[in-house]
């Protein structure tokens, strides 16, 4: 299955980029982030709480994202994460890095297939 194909190591390498990308436009809470990763990857990528939150806390500690408790009427308060200025920079650089990486891989793998 697809799920097995995308190995844990892949996930680890890309997780930071995924989270930063999702927070680029709007602040989101942890559950929403997990959900969006699953939906947009059509189920190929999935982060459970046990791995998602340590990641979020690490990014927060590095100062790339910042969490803030937000109360909405009639709901329990949730912690929303937004991208910091430093996070923006990291996102841009990781994107460039990822693109280079993907291009390199596809040149190799594409060439073999051709």
């Amino acid at each position: 299955m697809e799920d097995q194909a995308i190995d844990r190591e892949w996930k680890k390498g890309s997780a930071e980029l995924l989270i930063l990308s999702l927070l680029e436009a709007v602040p989101r809470h942890g559950y929403e982030i997990g959900k969006l990763i699953e939906q947009r990857s059509r189920g190929a990528l999935r982060f459970h709480a046990a791995s998602l939150y340590p990641l979020l806390y690490r990014l927060e500690k590095r100062g790339w994202i910042q969490g803030r408790w937000v109360e909405k009427s009639g709901q329990r308060r949730r912690r929303y994460y937004r991208l910091t200025a430093q996070g923006q920079k990291m996102l841009a650089s990781q994107r460039r890095g990822w693109r280079t990486f993907v291009e390199a891989i596809s040149r190799i793998t594409g060439a073999e297939n051709a």
Partner: protein, 900 residues
């Protein structure tokens, strides 16, 4: 709905997060779990299935706790004030620390009180000394642009720096282009009559330019006009604010009224501002041209005139110095007789006022710093002892997730709180201490009126107390934070730990070492003062009363009237019961003033200035020798027959004789005095120290010439009259005769006051005032240091005995005698003391060198002083060890063993 929080908390348990952080994570994850659970349920899962899946995802194969461990434990997790940013978070923690700290300190009032008191002593003493340093050395003088004010000295090859000849001042002021303006002043005494009792006022002759040069605007009225500062102008006077306020009852209509000063009627034209302090004591200011003396007009005398210049904004002091030097060289060519070799020296006014006391004050700053370090070491030891006792508390907090950094911060907050409390008490002590310092300070301490507690002093105290708090708190804080929770909890309340004892021993050794240094400094000062008091001044200092006198205005009318008035006064005073002999002199030895005259051997006309020599010049009446009990070496002293009708004579001292007539008999020889002309030597007397018990031997001018009062020419009589002192040798205690002397001096017209009444012994002790002051302050510091060090070693030994109760109990059971047990404890303590002593002696050896300038007759590393210090401290340390050791012998062996 399952309780996710409980589940999550279980998983996080062994991370030992800070409680607030843990709560936050639990809340966020529980929220997530709840969302997930709902989603699974709505997707059709059973409750049990949803529960299982949610739980699995929470722990998963990558355990949540494992993932979090690395992140959450990398540095101190701090409790987070929910919803606050990092600054708010810091403040919130600080507030929490403060509250907790206050609570802890309140719980042990004895400890808190002692620690604060020790710190208050240290901080208070530092604040007091700093306020003196601040007022005297640091604050700019209270004039606008005070850094451009310079004191200008005249220099001669013979004296070096000296006061200025009035004509030189006029020439400098006219010729120089470097100065915006220059002013001159000369202190003098004034006889104030016509307003009740006659009064003696201290005053100052000033040039009209002096106050404008300083930038002083009068409080009332105006400054002197140039035309008021001319020979023959009507006398005008400006008043000191305090004099106007107190003596003249702040008379608002004082301007234009006349005061009678030295029998001159002087119109008041202004009152000076309250904070003006030109010289500390002046009450009235009169234009210098009113100073009616030939001294003012000649270039050969330099009658105590001080000159102040204000540099133009763009001129450097070097440029001004060069310019004035060239003016002086022109004057030297123009007036070779008086000005050959003369020059001028510019000194910033503040340096001139306070420069000489700088090294003394800096010495005290160093000493008081040591006192503070000792206080810190003491409190640090107390905190160490406490932190050992509090190990259990820290262990529990660590177990609950508090990080090391967090505990260190908590403990530092506590110690800073302590030192701030100490500082508050210290400020009170400092206010009191400052007034004590001022009371003990020599009158000569410059700018003493400007000493006080101002914002800079407060800032200093605050800074010192915070730094202090951190300094003495660090070791105990780290010690506390390093507590290993498991061991501490296992051990129960009985704390231990080797690190603590090493630190504590080190602190005690340092305390003792610093106390050695302070004691050595104090001891050296005591020795110096004591040795100075043993110096033979060349006369008998006991039972001499000295007083300044002012003549009645009627007596001042003519020179013969002046002579007659003094003769009658001497007659009346000599008749007082208890007065053995009485004399008048123009200068009192060791009283801090001096007057010199240039002379040359033979009766030749005056050679150029650089070929004359100077001698101290005293005008005296015949009984001067018997009052002072100065020995007559050869010839005779003056009699009543040495008067204007007889040829002029002088007496010289043996120093002059040796210097000018080596190997010859000076009696009968002629010398010539500047202005006075040739005189014959009739007597040779012993040298009396003039400059100071310490510095007389090394002074440039030591020759002495005595001149009979009755032979003073008429033209000098009225000018010389103000500075005369009456000297009495008394049978009874001198001060007991003061009222009789006052009555007899006042005379039939009752208008001749006496003032500045002192015994000779007071004058001598005044001449040692600065050294005494330094000695006194050092003794106070050393005593404080000794006390703190004794308390320190006592505390450590008491604690050691308590800790060794069990061991000592066993020893006692096994047959150790009381002596052996005392020996055991004392040995431990004295080893510490010995280490401290050795270190302190080495440091004292190195540091007391900086005191060389303050010492007399004793070398900085005086072995006797150091040995005495070591003995004293050793004895105190022994006592401080012995008391706890005695307690150790009282241990009941059975009780000691049972308590295990």
């Amino acid at each position: 709905m399952p309780d996710w929080s409980e589940e999550i908390r279980k998983q996080l348990a062994d991370l030992r997060l800070a409680p607030a952080r843990e709560a936050e994570i639990v809340e966020e994850l529980a929220q997530h779990a709840q969302d997930r659970y709902r989603e699974l349920e709505s997707g059709g899962a059973t409750e049990a299935e949803a529960h299982r899946i949610t739980l699995e995802e929470l722990s998963g194969h990558e355990l949540l706790a494992n993932g979090l461990r690395a992140i959450e434990r990398t540095d101190a997790p701090e409790p987070i004030a929910l919803g606050a940013g990092s600054k708010g978070r810091f403040l919130a923690t600080l507030a929490q620390d403060l509250r907790y700290g206050l609570r802890t300190l309140r719980k042990s009032p004895g400890f808190t009180a002692f620690a604060m008191l020790a710190l208050a002593l240290g901080i208070g003493a530092n604040t007091a000394i700093f306020s003196v340093v601040n007022g005297v050395l640091l604050r700019p003088l209270a004039y606008p642009d005070a850094d451009r004010l310079l004191t200008i000295y005249e220099t001669t090859p013979e004296y070096g720096r000296t006061s200025v000849a009035y004509p030189s001042f006029l020439d400098w002021r006219r010729e120089s282009r470097s100065f915006a303006d220059m002013g001159a002043g000369r202190s003098d005494d004034f006889n104030f009559t016509g307003a009740g009792e006659p009064e003696h006022l201290s005053g100052e002759y000033v040039s009209a330019s002096l106050f404008p040069t300083l930038g002083v605007t009068p409080f009332m009225g105006r400054n002197f006009l140039p035309q008021e500062d001319r020979q023959g102008a009507a006398c005008a006077v400006m008043l000191d604010y305090g004099f106007w306020k107190v003596r003249l009852a702040a008379d608002p209509n004082i301007l234009g009224k006349a005061l009678t000063l030295n029998a001159m009627s002087c119109a008041v034209i202004g009152v000076l501002p309250r904070d003006l302090r030109l010289r500390e004591k002046a009450q009235v200011y009169v234009p210098i041209e009113q100073y009616n003396s030939v001294e003012l007009r000649t270039r050969e005398s330099r009658p105590g005139i001080a000159v102040i210049g204000r540099l133009k904004p763009d001129v450097t002091i070097e440029a001004a110095q060069a310019e004035i030097a060239s003016i002086c060289s022109v004057l030297a060519r123009q007036y070779p007789k008086t000005n050959a070799g003369a020059g001028a020296k510019l000194v910033p006014m503040k340096d001139d006022m306070v420069g000489y006391i700088r090294s003394t004050l800096l010495l005290l700053v160093g000493a008081v710093g040591f006192v503070l370090i000792i206080a810190c070491a003491n409190v640090a030891n107390l905190l160490l002892a406490r932190s050992t006792a509090r190990r259990r508390e820290f262990a529990i907090r660590t177990a609950l997730g508090a990080a090391r950094g967090r505990i260190v911060r908590q403990l530092l907050t506590e110690s800073v709180l302590l030192s701030l409390g100490g500082a508050a008490i210290g400020l009170l002590l400092a206010r009191w201490g400052t007034s004590l310092v001022l009371a003990a300070a020599p009158d000569s301490l410059p700018r003493s009126a400007e000493i006080g507690i101002d914002p800079y002093v407060l800032l200093f105290t605050l800074a010192v107390s915070i730094v202090t708090g951190i300094l003495f708190g660090l070791a105990p804080a780290f010690h506390g934070a390093n507590a290993n929770p498991q061991e501490s909890l296992k051990e129960g309340a009985r704390g231990a730990g080797g690190g603590r004892h090493r630190a504590e021993s080190l602190f005690v050794a340092v305390e003792i070492g610093l106390a050695v240094i302070l004691l050595a400094a104090a001891g050296l000062m005591m020795q110096s003062v004591w040795r100075l008091l043993q110096v033979d001044p060349g006369f008998n200092t006991r039972n001499i009363l000295t007083t300044q006198v002012a003549l009645s205005p009627t007596a001042l009318a003519s020179p013969p009237a002046i002579r007659l008035a003094f003769q009658q006064m001497l007659g009346r005073v000599a008749a007082i019961a208890g007065v053995q002999s009485v004399a008048i002199t123009s200068q009192v030895p060791l009283a801090g003033s001096d007057s010199e005259i240039a002379f040359w051997p033979g009766a030749a006309p005056q050679p150029p200035q650089d070929r004359t020599t100077s001698a101290m010049f005293s005008v005296v009446t015949p009984h001067y020798l018997s009052v002072m009990q100065i020995p007559l070496r050869r010839g005779r002293f003056f009699t009543e027959r040495d008067n204007l009708a007889s040829p002029p004579v002088v007496a010289i001292d043996d120093v002059l004789a040796k210097h000018v007539f080596p190997g010859q008999d000076p009696i009968g020889r002629q010398i010539s005095l500047m202005v006075m002309g040739p005189v014959r030597i009739v007597g040779m007397v012993g040298h009396a120290k003039q400059w100071g018990l310490d510095s007389d031997d090394t002074s440039k001018i030591r020759d002495q010439i005595y001149f009979p009062f009755e032979q003073v020419p008429d033209k000098f009589m009225s000018a010389g009259v103000t500075g005369l002192t009456l000297l009495l040798r008394t049978g009874p205690e001198p001060m007991s005769l003061v009222s009789a002397v006052r009555a007899q001096v006042a005379g039939p017209t009752r208008d001749q006051p006496i003032y500045a009444v002192r015994t000779m012994e007071q004058i001598i002790s005044g001449s040692l005032a600065e050294r005494r002051f330094t000695m006194l302050v050092l003794i106070i510091f050393a005593a404080t240091a000794l006390l703190l060090a004794a308390v320190g070693i006592y505390g450590v030994m008491s604690y050691a005995v308590t800790r060794r109760t069990h061991e000592l109990g066993i020893r006692a059971t096994l047959g150790a005698s009381r002596r052996e047990i005392v020996g055991l404890v004392v040995h431990q303590g004295m080893r510490l003391a010995a280490i401290g002593l050795a270190g302190g002696l080495v440091a004292a050896f190195a540091l007391t060198r900086f005191m060389t300038g303050l010492l007399y007759g004793v070398r900085p590393a005086d072995p006797a002083t150091l040995a005495a210090v070591a003995l004293l401290l050793g004895a105190i340390a022994l006592l401080a060890c012995y008391i706890p050791a005695r307690r150790a012998t009282a241990i009941d062996p059975m009780a000691a063993l049972r308590c295990e």
